[in-house]
């Protein structure tokens, strides 16, 4: 087994290598990587809920969406956030994500299992409905086109500069979430995931723990949305559709729930299929659907679970036992 320190070192080295290689690989790669990283922040926020707290939210696109719409509306209607005040928009994006999650959490956290799934789906659809129909604010189906990116000493219209900025946000988010899930608070979240009743008996206010996790995830969703709006230059109801939420869930499951690195890997793969493969072949959606099906049937622990599964297989001759253990693990 690798120690935690070595793992952290590997991740940091991988990030440095990533930041070094991507800007030297052509503008299309830079753009793709930038957008994928914005999505990866969303995926990590889903992972905080799904992987560390055991809540499968089907409406995470809502926070992503409000962050993106906030940025776009401020930029086009108030010409706000195109200079140094970009940082104010970032803070506002986090706050609006948190605020929305705080509101939605009041309805959603009480519910468990399939009902949590359904209620977050409905909440996500509420936001989608507003984005789709509230023409005077959101531009309806056409969405909002933004012109240019902020410039404050750093000229973000330069793709490479913008890449580094989003990379910084991504790395900091990952670091913050890592600290969070390793903290006592994060440990109690994991306890809730494994056995909520026992945590209640131990005297933890599990509702409050879940609520706070939900709000934090909303905040990360919001900041991801702010970045997304600027990577894209265009915000439309497509940003908030059900499939965005479902995609972010798959990213987490594909990478391996409960591992922030896994969420990032998953985001890279799913995003790559959607944005890159779709430019190459017309049948890319078969690949996307195939990845969904194969992941669920063959990789329930995700890519990050492969090493332990291989170990299990090589270690014990009795294959059946290993898979049974995996199957009975509550999720």
């Amino acid at each position: 087994m690798m120690t935690q320190k070595i793992k952290i070192l590997i991740v940091i080295l991988a990030l440095v290598a990533f930041a070094f290689i991507v800007p030297r690989s052509g503008s299309f790669v830079v753009l793709l990587a930038t957008r994928a990283m914005a999505f990866a922040i969303l995926a990590m926020s889903v992972d905080l809920l799904l992987g560390y707290t055991g809540m499968s939210s089907m409406g995470q696109a809502a926070y992503f969406g409000v962050g993106a719409y906030l940025t776009a509306v401020l930029a086009t209607k108030f010409h706000f956030g195109m200079g140094w005040d970009f940082w104010i928009v970032v803070v506002l994006g986090i706050l609006i994500g948190c605020a929305l999650a705080a509101l939605f959490g009041l309805f959603a956290i009480r519910a468990g299992g399939v009902y949590f799934l359904m209620i977050t789906l409905a909440l996500g659809q509420c936001v989608w409905g507003l984005a789709y129909r509230w023409n005077s604010l959101t531009g309806g189906d056409n969405g909002i086109n933004m012109s240019g990116r902020p410039s404050f000493g750093l000229d973000l219209t330069n793709e490479t500069t913008f890449f580094y900025l989003v990379f910084a946000f991504f790395a900091v988010s990952m670091g913050l979430l890592y600290v969070l899930v390793r903290s006592p608070f994060g440990r109690s979240l994991a306890g809730i995931r494994e056995r909520e009743l026992r945590m209640q008996i131990l005297g933890y206010n599990t509702w409050l723990h879940k609520y706070i996790a939900f709000i934090i995830a909303g905040g990360f969703g919001g900041v991801a949305g702010v970045l997304w709006a600027h990577t894209n230059g265009h915000v439309s109801p497509e940003t908030v559709v059900l499939t965005t939420s479902v995609d972010s869930l798959l990213m987490v499951v594909l990478g391996g729930a409960g591992t922030l690195v896994g969420a990032t890997l998953g985001a890279a793969i799913v995003f790559g299929l959607r944005e890159y493969l779709s430019t190459l072949v017309p049948w890319w959606q078969y690949a996307l659907g195939g990845v969904y099906v194969l992941t669920i049937l063959y990789l329930p622990m995700g890519l990050m679970g492969i090493p332990s599964r291989l170990r299990q297989r090589l270690g014990s001759k009795d294959k059946g036992e290993g898979s049974k253990k995996l199957a009975s693990k509550p999720s």
């Binding site: 799904l50 499968s56 089907m58 009041l106 309805f107 959603a108 009480r110 519910a111 299992g113 399939v114 009902y115 799934l117 359904m118 209620i119 789906l121 409905a122 909440l123 659809q125 509420c126 989608w128 409905g129 507003l130 789709y132 129909r133 509230w134 023409n135 005077s136 559709v241 059900l242 499939t243 479902v246 869930l249 798959l250 499951v253 190459l280 072949v281 049948w283 959606q285 078969y286 690949a287 996307l288 659907g289 195939g290 990845v291 969904y292 099906v293 194969l294 992941t295 669920i296 049937l297 063959y298 329930p300 294959k319 059946g320 898979s323 995996l326 199957a327 999720s331």
Partner: protein
């Protein structure tokens, strides 16, 4: 806003609700019996519409397209349920289907950009399929039963596959199903023109609703289904074959959704993306009514149909919000829906 406005809007809402009942009742029954949240239900709707278009194109008969489309999609549903949503049985067939799919994709990927011929392509696909099959045989499948999230993602995966499949078979254009001329006229009731087709939709939903109700309440099969909804384990204990009931209900759900697709296609049109438009509406129906309850689905469909119509007519800017917000409230207050049981 006179009386006529309200009557016409109510009529439109009810007829839309009739359509939603067809989609929602199946989804509700599937959830009730199998505890499966089926996100490919919208795809069944879409495929129903598309298959009907093909049937009409070939035979020219609209009446024939209804049963053919519904039965075909029911078969697709059974295929999906038996192979992928159940862990037991058909292991080799399942692995084979997956391997063939992956094999064809690999071959497609290799063939891209090169001047491939059909024999080369087929040979490539066969080799890839065999290789993938051999690989997958060595990996054990982790069953999806009782894991809501994985069922959701699995069915979403199928929804994407169906979406692309429909795009490849029928293309991306917006198409219309044209019912017989008799249906395109209007009847005058109390000085108002009501389209015959919408009257037909309401009648159709009523007939299907009553038949379903009779089957559920008055037959042995229906009693077994209700027992399974209430407590599947207990039902198994008293000797009810819940496995067969699941298959039957899944087929029925797909059948009804496809029927909805054929009927709804006449005034919604059939186009890519319709599947994911109908899906959240179907969920709204199921959730408001309560999962697994037929009467609940009827009430839910009526409520969603009316809310959708009046919302769009009265406050267009927040019309979808007025649809989904009540859904949230109901879930928050009574998670099992208005008529659902735990």
């Amino acid at each position: 806003m006179n009386t006529q406005f309200w009557v016409i809007q109510a009529f439109n809402g009810i007829s839309y609700g009739a359509l939603l009942f067809l989609v929602g009742s199946g989804l509700s029954l599937i959830f009730g019996v199998m505890r499966i949240v089926n996100l490919s239900h919208g795809a069944y709707f879409l495929w129903g519409g598309y298959i009907a278009l093909s049937v009409i194109h070939v035979t020219g008969s609209w009446a024939l397209s209804l049963p053919v489309a519904a039965l075909t999609v029911a078969l697709i549903g059974v295929f999906m349920e038996r192979l992928f949503l159940r862990s037991q049985g058909f292991e080799n067939l399942r692995t084979g289907v997956i391997a063939a799919g992956v094999g064809v994709l690999i071959s497609l990927a290799i063939a891209r950009g090169t001047h491939f011929t059909w024999p080369q392509f087929i040979i490539g696909a066969v080799i890839a399929t065999v290789a993938v099959f051999a690989l997958l045989k060595r990996i054990s499948i982790i069953p999806v039963d009782n894991d809501v999230l994985r069922q959701v993602l699995l069915t979403v995966g199928f929804a994407f596959l169906f979406q692309q499949g429909a795009l490849d078979i029928w293309g991306g254009n917006n198409m219309d199903i044209n019912p017989p001329a008799a249906f395109t006229q209007s009847v005058v009731v109390g000085g108002m023109y009501l389209p015959v087709y919408r009257v037909f939709m309401i009648g159709m939903a009523l007939v299907i609703g009553i038949v379903l109700w009779l089957v559920m309440e008055k037959t042995r099969m229906g009693a077994a289904v209700r027992a399974t909804v209430d407590d599947a384990q207990m039902a198994r204990g008293v000797g009810i074959d819940t496995n067969r009931i699941s298959m039957f209900i899944f087929a029925l759900g797909a059948f009804l959704a496809a029927l909805g697709g054929v009927i709804g296609g006449a005034f919604l049109g059939i186009y890519p993306g319709l599947d994911f438009e109908m899906l959240p509406l179907a969920f709204a129906v199921v959730i408001i009514g309560g999962m697994g309850s037929l009467g609940g689905a009827a009430i839910g469909a009526l409520a969603v149909g009316l809310a959708d119509n009046f919302g769009k007519a009265l406050f267009p800017e927040v019309s979808y919000f007025t649809l989904y917000a009540p859904m949230v409230l109901i879930l928050a207050i009574k998670p099992t829906g208005l008529f659902g049981r735990d």
